[in-house]
Structures are given as structure tokens and as C-alpha cells.
Symmetry: C2
């Protein structure tokens, strides 16, 4: 196979190594498959080693992949099936993955480009709040989308992302991840993660959107700042096991890829999944939206993702955004 | 007055010259007022001359402002009364004033910063369409806003800008400028200008918005490309007179400044002004929105600026955005 056809078929060194899981792969075979010289192959092997991949070399037998690092752009790229994650920018440390993704989108980065970082200096939550982003533990990633929807429907992107994260995490770790309206991932009402949607738009079109996803994966309880320790959790805390971030990231991206396609055709399917995974509906809540505060029973979300609240006086309020607190179960509001 | 207090009071050389309209101002007096040396004054006088200001110097009498250029940042800054236009970036030629303003806002440029250009290489209209932007004739400017409103209300910014442009142009030139929903300035149904709103937002807040304003001022009919000549007009074409762009720009900015304050407190006042200036309401129109086309009588706009259409079958449609054509009066649609 010559170099061009290898490139066209998108065959990468890591894919070759991953396919031949337990055995050795000869240098000659690999050079041929990739359409490169033995010297170039050697360089690429070493580049991967520099990124934390452990590759055994044995004279006469060739190369064997012993282990992959916890987080790498290369393994994410080879693990995704759709558009999301085909391009991955991985950085040890960044101010904010969302800010960088917005800048790259501004410069024309294609849909599905993912920015992921091991840690963030200025991790952001909704409304400019801080997102605690220590290294070597969690997922901080941002996905560039160019969705053909109206700005008024943008909240649907938050919902579809939350549904994708909750589903993928449940499948891969067994943790019962739920969604707190509008954009939090929770486990037994403790915060596991969040979604931050930012976009550039005109009134009648979204030029691009960036979905920021932060998930506490391998953090220990003691690593949380004291003030949020009681309200937060991590996959590690829930399972007592460390989880490989690359696997979770790829799982989430694949799930999002599929669900974004469903959103285009049948948004009600996504809304129903959201309802099923919600930790909010059917409970008494307090919502602060700008200067207003509403208390009531969260009865549903509408087709734009707005929360429908039944207030104690029997009236119905539709709230497009805000901070929600679940009230203690014995607080009677109606 | 020392230099600092002169700076604090914001007294500028141009202001001094403009105040003393018809007489001379002595160099000593000016140096003292600005808190600078005679040599520094001389430098500044020459800098203004380089920008097209004609300043007469007479031995013993001092300086006299003879004329100001058609368009300059300095004169806009001294002519505005509020926040809008206190910072002005004027460029001979730019790709797009909106793109530059978005970049500057991204970097923290303050609210009210105005980007204005004599010509644009890639002038933009709605939905990425081209905006014809030849030099030495028209207004192409973008205003950075940081409005404390929800993204769903963003269209109100387009409406308030259109109302401000129409009012200011009418007052300063006498032309009966009307507004075609959602964002066109028209005279007798011919296109005089347009508003392009872009923003960066999260679902529940606008981080910043940029209002792009394009107005055909001194263009002649023959300067228009042949394909748009029949549908377009300019202030010059309507009045047979050239108009100073700086005056119009400052007039629009002052009008917008006032109306944005009104919008905050009593948005219905702005909606009513829009209704009064509308060329759309009460007429039979065709609106193309995405893949859908609606025909009907434009009866009103709602509190978010959406067009309310009464269709021939008697039903009512609310349209948030689209391309509108006024149907010929004898086309009966209901």
C-alpha cells in the first residue's frame, strides 16, 4: 500500500498496534501498511512513547503495544466512530477549553473538533462561574458544532449533551448519572459534572456552538475544595475504581454523535430521554432566574427545553434558564 | 490647567477648535488648556491635518479650524453625548467592521466601542450575504454592546438600531426612512441600509453583541452594481445632496444611546416606535424562513420582535426570522 492510499484510508500507527492486541507486529509489515520507511516508523513509535504509550520492541519479532496513557488525542481519534473527535487537540494545561474551542471555531475549525485538557487554569461554569479543574483526574473538553438550528433552540444542544454524557457514563461505569435542569450531571443529587454551551450567532442562525463538558472522574473526595466537598461527587467516589478517561471521552463522543443525528430528525425522542434521565421532574424546586425566584413543582420541559413549573397558587410558569435547587422532600409547596 | 486635569475633563484639541468656530485660538491658550507644550501642540495640529482637517495657522493670531474631513474618529468622538462612540476605531479599509468588532469585543473592548471603515473588502449582510461596500461614500460601522438581556430578546437590539437609524436619518436629512422587517432600512420600498446583529452568548446570557450598520449615503445610482440598482437607493439619490458622514454617524449613535436606555425600562415604547416607522405592517407579504414560505397580511410584531402574519386561511403565524418581500398591492391574499 503506498503512502497516499494509507493516508486516504486513515490508517494510523496506533490503529495497527491496537488491532494486534496481544501479539507482535513486524516492522516490515507496519512500514508497508503505513507506506513509510522503517526510519520514519521508528520516529513515530518514539513519538507515541513520548506521549505515554508503552511499546515493546523485540528484535526479530517487531513491536507490541503494552499500554496506552490515561488520556491521549491519538487513542480518542482511533476510538470514535463518527464526526465528533475525528480532530482532537489535547493540551496538558489550558486557560479554558471552551475559550480555545471558540477561538478555533472562529478561525474555521471543522465541526466535531474536540479540545481536551488535563487541567484548566480558568475553567468556566455557567454565567462566568469558576469550574474547579485540577490535573490528572477529570474530563474537561469542548466540542465544536455547526448545528443547523435556530438560536432559540440552542438549549436543545445542552440537553442532548447531558443525555449523551449520562447514558455513556452509566453504560461504561455503572453509575446512575442523572440530569439536573438545565445543565448539571448529578448522582444522588451531588454534582458530578456540567455542560456549558457557548455560541456565536445572528438572530436567525447559529454560526457555531461550543459544548463544554466537565466531569469529575478520578477525583477523590479530599481533592475537592472544602466548600464544595459536600455537594460534589466523582465517578471514582461512586465506584471506588479509577476509570480510563480516554474510554469515557470516546464513549461520550460516540453517544453524542448518534444523539445529535436523532435530534435533527426527531427531537421529541431526545426530550423523552432527557425526561427519563432527569433528577428534576416531579420534585419541588426553587429556581432563580435573573432577579426573579420561582418555587413550585417541576412538571415537565417544553419543546425548547424550558422548565415548566406549577406554582403553589396553581399557575404555570415556563422558565428558560436559571439556577435550580431541589427542595427537601417534606417542603410542601402545593 | 495641568495635563492630568485636562485629560480627566476629556478636553481634546479638536473640541477646543470646534468650540471657537469662526475665530482664531492662540497657541498659548491652547497649550495651557490641554496642559501640553507648544511643541506638542504643533505635533497634534499636524496629526489632525494628516487626517484631513484643514487648520489655518496665522502668526500672532494662532490657529483656526477651516474644515473637517467627511469621516473621522476624532470628530465622531467629540460629537457623541453618551457611551456609544466614546471609543472609535476608524479604518480606511477593513474586511468587515463586524468581524473586527467581534474580535475586539472578544479581547475585552468596552461597551460602546465603534468600528467604522471607509470601505470593506468583505462587507457582510444577514446569513453571510455580501454587502456592497465601496469607498468614499457610505457608512459601514459596528457598535459593541454588552446588553443585560436574554438571548431570546436579542432581536430587540436589531429593532432599536433600526428605529434609531430611521429617526436620526429623517431628522438630519429629511428623508422618510422606513423599516422593513426584520432589519432593512428602506425609502419607498427601496433598500437604503441594513442592520446585522451578531453576538456571543450562552443560553441564558449575552456575553456581547455587535450591531453592524450599513447605510448608502453618498452613492450615486450609477455606482450600484447593475443587479441591485433597481432595488437600492441612497441618501444622495433621495435628496440630490451630499451629506457629511460624521454628522450622520454621530446622530445615529446619539439616538441609539438614548433609545437603548428606553429599551431597558420600557421596551414597549421602542416597539411602538418601530410599528410607527414600519413599512411592513398592514401589507401583504411573503416571508421565506429556512425551507418554509409564508404568505399573509403582516399585522404586528410581538414583544420579542417576531412578525405576526395572518394567513389567507385565517390562521395566525408568528415568525422569528426570514426574508420578506412586500407583495404588489393588488395581490389579494385574504
Amino acid at each position: 500500500m503506498d503512502k497516499n492510499s494509507a493516508k486516504k484510508k486513515g490508517i494510523h500507527l496506533l490503529e495497527l498496534l491496537l488491532k494486534r492486541k496481544s501479539g507482535f507486529l513486524s516492522g516490515a509489515e507496519m512500514s508497508a501498511a503505513l507506506g513509510i520507511t522503517r526510519a520514519a516508523l521508528w520516529k513515530r513509535i518514539n513519538a507515541l512513547r513520548g506521549k505515554g504509550f508503552v511499546i515493546e520492541a523485540s528484535k526479530g519479532k517487531g513491536y507490541k503495544l503494552v499500554s496506552t496513557p490515561d488520556l491521549s488525542a491519538e487513542e480518542i481519534k482511533t476510538s470514535v466512530k463518527g464526526t465528533l473527535g475525528k480532530e482532537v487537540i489535547f493540551l496538558r494545561r489550558v486557560n479554558s477549553t471552551n475559550d480555545l474551542a471558540m477561538k478555533l471555531a472562529e478561525k474555521g475549525a471543522p465541526e466535531g473538533t474536540v479540545v481536551i485538557a488535563d487541567s484548566q487554569r480558568k475553567g468556566k461554569g455557567r454565567l462566568g462561574r469558576k469550574w474547579h479543574s485540577p490535573p490528572n483526574a477529570n474530563i474537561y473538553m469542548s466540542v465544536i458544532l455547526k448545528p443547523n438550528i435556530l438560536p432559540k433552540d440552542a438549549t436543545l444542544l445542552t440537553l442532548v449533551s447531558a443525555v449523551s454524557c449520562a447514558s455513556a457514563l452509566k453504560e461504561l461505569t455503572g453509575v446512575d448519572v442523572r440530569i439536573k435542569w438545565p445543565n448539571d450531571l448529578v448522582v444522588s443529587d451531588k454534582k458530578l459534572g456540567g455542560i456549558l454551551l457557548e455560541m456565536r450567532s445572528e438572530p436567525d442562525r447559529i454560526l457555531f456552538a461550543v459544548i463544554g463538558i466537565g466531569i469529575n472522574v478520578n477525583m477523590k473526595l479530599t481533592d475537592f475544595p472544602a466548600d464544595i466537598r459536600t455537594f460534589a461527587t466523582s465517578i471514582f467516589k461512586e465506584t471506588r475504581k479509577k476509570h480510563k478517561r480516554t474510554t469515557l471521552v470516546a464513549g461520550i463522543l460516540n453517544e453524542m454523535d448518534g444523539k445529535l443525528k436523532i435530534l435533527k430528525k426527531t427531537p421529541e425522542v431526545i426530550l423523552n430521554e432527557w425526561r427519563r434521565l432527569s433528577s428534576t421532574l416531579g420534585r419541588n424546586v426553587k429556581v432563580t432566574s435573573g432577579k426573579e425566584t420561582f418555587i413550585g413543582l417541576a412538571v415537565d420541559i417544553d419543546e425548547e427545553g424550558r422548565l415548566i413549573l406549577k406554582t403553589p397558587d396553581g399557575s404555570v410558569r415556563t422558565i428558560s434558564s436559571g439556577d435550580l435547587t431541589v427542595l427537601r422532600e417534606h417542603t410542601a409547596v402545593q
